[in-house]
């Protein structure tokens, strides 16, 4: 009873809350980091150094009037933010934060569900997210969101293929689809997979930027062109859900990249005995630190680069990334068979 229901439920509750808090603080982190890049201070008024800003933002968004445009498709309009948010949250289920830890004499694995097709599950859930954007664009019954919805669907098709192909390369290298298994395979290989599959990592990262609609691929919400894109007609909590979904997706992509390429919870050089003192830092801290580095890079890129144009993004996807991805997959397959 405790084993089958209570423990997983507790894990889910803790994880959900942790993720939501992390997401709101991601917003603050982004504002702060971009402000520092731009020689500003960022939020400073709510709490010391603005640390309570996320709470103020959340309150404001909850109290805002929730407007549905008169000619919108009401059902889909309400559904869209949910479709956007939920997959981003459930994708966390298979991400292993640490190996088994002992808590009050009870062995606990820090992953909600170590399913044997974990990677496939991640691919499946993260691709649903974008439907939220497409639906929002359609349901708003407004021209700018419609254009954004079209852009989002084009973007999804262009990048999903390359990213999935790269995940297959990883599966070829690791020989398993389980997220925990992939981390353990890196322990056995004595090497993080980023050194074995560098091309895959680069493509996955670019694809990750595109899939999460982050700069320089933030076309569906290009404020300067489409006045906010798909969420132009949204307000209040529904808008907040889109916002949270974007940041949750960023965390998912960072966590997945950490797990697949940077050894998840493993410390650097996990098999080198003289570095054993690094084990004093628990695995989940390593995991969070690695994930944080990715999140920082996401923000850094946003502060630095201009935005791609829609046709250029498609060209990059179809003419560069997909051929490269196929080549990489074929080469890894051949090497795997030969070695």
């Amino acid at each position: 009873m405790v084993e089958t229901y209570l423990v997983p439920l507790l894990k889910i509750a803790v994880l959900l809350n942790a993720v939501l808090v992390a997401v709101t603080y991601m917003v603050l982190l982004e504002r702060k980091v971009i402000a520092w890049v731009q020689v500003r201070l960022g939020p400073m008024r709510v709490g010391p150094y603005g640390v309570l800003q996320p709470i103020a933002d959340a309150l404001k968004l909850m109290l805002k009037e929730d407007i549905t445009p008169a000619r919108a498709d009401r059902f889909v309009f309400t559904l869209a933010p949910i479709v956007s948010m939920v997959p981003a949250l459930i994708a966390f289920a298979v991400i292993p934060f640490d190996d088994e830890v002992t808590l009050f004499g009870y062995k606990l694995s820090l992953v909600v569900a170590d399913v044997n097709v974990g990677l496939l599950y991640v691919v499946a859930t993260t691709s649903i997210s974008v439907y939220g954007i497409i639906l929002a664009g359609y349901a708003s019954n407004s021209k700018f969101p419609l254009l954004a919805g079209l852009r989002a669907s084009a973007q999804l098709i262009s990048y999903e293929v390359a990213v999935t192909m790269m995940l297959v390369s990883i599966v070829v290298t690791a020989g398993t689809l389980s997220m925990v298994g992939i981390v353990k395979a890196q322990l056995d290989a004595h090497l993080w997979f980023v050194f074995i599959q560098p091309v895959a990592f680069v493509i996955l990262f670019i694809g990750g930027l595109a899939e999460t609609n982050r700069a320089p691929f933030d076309l569906p919400e290009a404020e300067q062109e489409l006045t906010g894109g798909f969420h132009t007609e949204y307000s209040g909590m529904r808008f907040a859900l889109f916002f949270l979904a974007e940041y949750a997706n960023m965390i998912v992509v960072s966590a997945v990249a950490t797990t697949l390429f940077f050894g998840g919870w493993l410390r650097p050089f996990p098999n080198v005995a003289p570095l054993a003192f690094l084990d004093l830092v628990p695995g989940w801290i390593w995991f969070l630190m690695k994930t944080f580095v990715f999140l920082y890079i996401f923000i850094w890129i946003r502060a630095t680069l201009p935005r791609y144009r829609y046709d250029q993004l498609m060209r990059l996807g179809w003419k560069v990334l997909i051929p490269l991805a196929i080549a990489n997959l074929v080469v890894s397959g051949i090497l795997k068979v030969l070695l």
């Binding site: 731009q38 254009l147 320089p216 404020e223 300067q224 006045t227 630095t304 791609y308």
Partner: protein, 366 residues
Amino acid sequence: MFDTNELVINMGPQHPSTHGVLRVVLRLDGERVIEAKVVIGYLHRGIEKLCEHRDWGQIVLITDRMDYVAAASNNLGYCETVEKLMSLEVPPRAQYIRTILAELQRIASHCLWLGTHAMDIGAMTVFLYAFRERELILDLFEEYCGARLTYNAMRIGGLPLDIPPRWDAKVRAFCDILDTKVDEYEELLTHNRIWLERTRGVGVIGAAEAIAIGLSGPALRGSAVPRDIRKDEPYAAYADFAFDVPIGDAGDTYDRYLVRIEEFRQSTRIIRQALDGLPEGPILGKVPRLIKPPAGETYHAIESPKGELGYFIVSDGKSNVPYRFRVRPPSFCNLQALPRLVKGHLVADVVALIGSIDIVLGEVDR
């Protein structure tokens, strides 16, 4: 088989990237622009008519409100036109200071252009960097005349104020700062692959067509026409200084960008020369107490940051107001090129092109 519909969208007058209250009606096929129609007039204040009811000295202050990001250039154009009408002699010290002010103004205006143009293309950090430098210029202007946006900095026949003590040293220090900062902007944009892809080959306009449409300023020079009024028909003290007129070759958004970036450097060069050779003497010429130009008409143009800013003024010689006051605003004439430039490009390019021709709606509508 497919039912293709054209989509008509309204960009503006409340749109984040139309630089004010410009309205562009776009006919789209997918994201491709078939036709763009520019609708203006949302900021029309009747400035030309207003000027026909104010006496000559008061008009300086109204000209501030046209191109409000380059108020000193507007002042300069107007004052020189009236001086030409009255055949007034302006003392050399005033000419030099006017030149310094106009060049500082050019830098400030280009900073604003660079920031918003980069922002439109998605590079938001450049915006804040450019505004940081613009702020320094506004501080210099504030120290000179007390105002930060609408300066009312010039008088017919000279200047109302001499430069404050040690102001020239501050201007020099600013020029040194700016030169390093321009390199910083270039580092972020000039060789950035995304920036190149977004601006190269976008909105190409050839030299002949650019002239026919009436483009002027950096937008014209981007199309390889070396026309710069500062060089061709020198006014103020420009004849005394050595400076280059940068031109592009392809006539696309990238060339117009490069031209303006180079103008930053040429402006600091001019300012330094002007500070070095700043003559002593009065700052206001022999101006009659009551300004009443003789009957006649004149047209005089200066190179404002955005292009040829011309004033056509008719005086009847009797009343103390102009009989006719007409402005040839560079933004208005350059805006004519927009429908031609955006045709066949994508929605994302429309905002890039609006930024690239550098318009200010206060000047378009007047």
